[in-house]
């Protein structure tokens, strides 16, 4: 559960992905049958794998009657409710947990945990579920066929599915009917050097329960706090090695 541990897993993961990619690239274009070509897109060169973006959620600061993070997420990504809770998009869920032994109650947001060992990526038949070199798990919707294997495989109920037509998709977060989707850790903001929308909203609400940073950088605040607080992983028994960690609950 240490940071170095994370780093090792992440590196092993990405190097294994790279060798797979190199194999595919070596293949280049494969002739499946006369006239049917399977072309493989080129890999991008600028992936270093040095960073691993993560979130640290302090459940001692998160309160039951606040949903600033959820609202900010919906606004940023254009998640509109259609009044059908079973199928409405929800990338962050506010969850209340009670310790049956002590009666201690904690509240926490649960989003995609951006697992180092992501099951959604493992099961995806098309390569649409992907893990970026900086640890963020995304769906490349250009490739997703909507099979929903990932939705089934995710142990955290974090992978969702766009069940309905999207009227006005957010320019920064394209999404449409028939594709899997989930928390992107606000890559569009991270790419520009900004904080994820939920982190910013939580800070603005005065609770400051979510901390964003690079888990692979031992000098970063998040890495220091993960060590100092012994931050827990959700369902650590599953060994998914999440990039989202929780403080203040015995999970």
């Amino acid at each position: 559960m240490s940071i170095t541990g994370n780093k090792k897993t992440a590196c092993a993961e990405s190097s294994c992905m790279q060798s797979r990619r190199r194999f595919l690239l070596g293949a280049g274009a494969i002739l499946l049958a006369p006239g049917v070509l399977l072309t493989v897109r080129p890999a991008l060169a600028d992936e270093t794998g040095r960073q691993r973006w993560g979130l640290l959620i302090d459940t001692r600061r998160c309160v039951g009657d606040c949903s600033a993070c959820v609202t900010a997420c919906s606004t940023t990504h254009g998640l509109v409710s259609n009044g059908r809770p079973a199928t409405d998009p929800q990338w962050i869920r506010k969850v209340q947990v009670t310790d049956p032994g002590t009666g201690h109650v904690a509240h926490m947001p649960i989003m995609c945990q951006h697992c180092g060992n992501a099951q959604c990526v493992e099961v995806c038949p098309t390569g649409a579920s992907l893990k970026r070199a900086d640890g963020i798990v995304l769906v490349d919707k250009h490739l997703c066929i909507g099979c929903r294997y990932c939705v089934m495989a995710c142990p955290f109920k974090a992978r969702g599915f766009a069940h309905e037509e999207v009227e006005n998709p957010s320019p920064v977060s394209p999404r449409g009917k028939g594709s899997a989707e989930g928390c992107t850790m606000c890559v569009h903001r991270i790419n520009k050097g900004q904080l994820p929308a939920c982190v910013e909203a939580c800070a603005r609400s005065g609770h400051e329960a979510i901390l964003f940073g690079d888990l692979n950088d031992p000098t970063s605040l998040i890495a220091k706090r993960v060590v100092a607080f012994g931050a827990a992983a959700l369902r650590a028994d599953l060994r998914t090695d999440p990039s989202v960690r929780y403080v203040g609950v015995n999970l």
């Binding site: 070596g26 293949a27 494969i30 002739l31 006369p34 897109r41 080129p42 991008l44 600028d46 992936e47 270093t48 992907l130 970026r132 070199a133 900086d134 995304l138 490349d140 919707k141 250009h142 037509e165 999207v166 006005n168 998709p169 957010s170 320019p171 920064v172 394209p174 999404r175 449409g176 009917k177 594709s179 890559v187 790419n191 520009k192 050097g193």
Partner: protein, 173 residues
């Protein structure tokens, strides 16, 4: 893979080459002279690497190549860690505005920029089931001056100014 290569070399390539040769010969002997002259008069638009601001000078190049550019942008946008923001579709639709009075029209409208050619060519594109087809209001993606300018020329000037500023700031990747 080895097997594929061998099959490719031994069987398919000779067959394809022969086919191509026969087709070329057929075209050469069958084409009437005036058609050959017409082909010479209109040289094919070269497939070339597009660079920032390039397409403004020769619309033909962009008409021919925009698919490659979009494909490159789409692979890059979804997968690369150091995302290059040059070729996002948001930027395309932010410059190529068609307005109905004051308001830009969306892809649902036949007058939308992309629809103008695609309708004629009978191409149904699937970009706007997910992507916004209206100009972005995010100043980090495109300066508001671009969106608000009236003519394509003005928008282009504003856009060039904006990219230069970004490059000077070191934020334009």
């Amino acid at each position: 893979m080895q097997q594929y290569n061998t099959i490719l070399r031994r069987r398919l390539l000779p067959a394809l080459l022969l086919g191509a040769l026969l087709t070329a010969a057929g075209v050469f002997f069958a084409a009437p002279p005036h058609q050959a002259a017409a082909a010479e008069a209109a040289p094919p638009v070269p497939k070339q690497k597009l660079v920032r601001g390039h397409w403004s000078e020769n619309p033909e190049i962009m008409r021919k190549n925009h698919k490659e550019l979009l494909l490159e942008g789409m692979t890059n946008a979804a997968r690369a860690t150091n995302r290059k923001d040059d070729n996002t579709i948001e930027r395309c639709v932010t410059c190529h505005i068609v307005r109905d009075g004051e308001k830009p029209v969306s892809a649902a409208d036949p007058r939308h920029f992309c629809n103008q050619c695609h309708a004629k060519a009978g191409v149904s594109i699937d970009c706007f089931t997910c992507h916004a087809s209206l100009p972005t209001t995010d100043p980090a993606v495109m300066s508001p001056e671009v969106r608000n300018a009236d003519t394509v020329k003005e928008r282009l000037q504003q856009w060039q100014k904006y990219t230069q500023e970004q490059a000077a700031k070191g934020t334009g990747k």
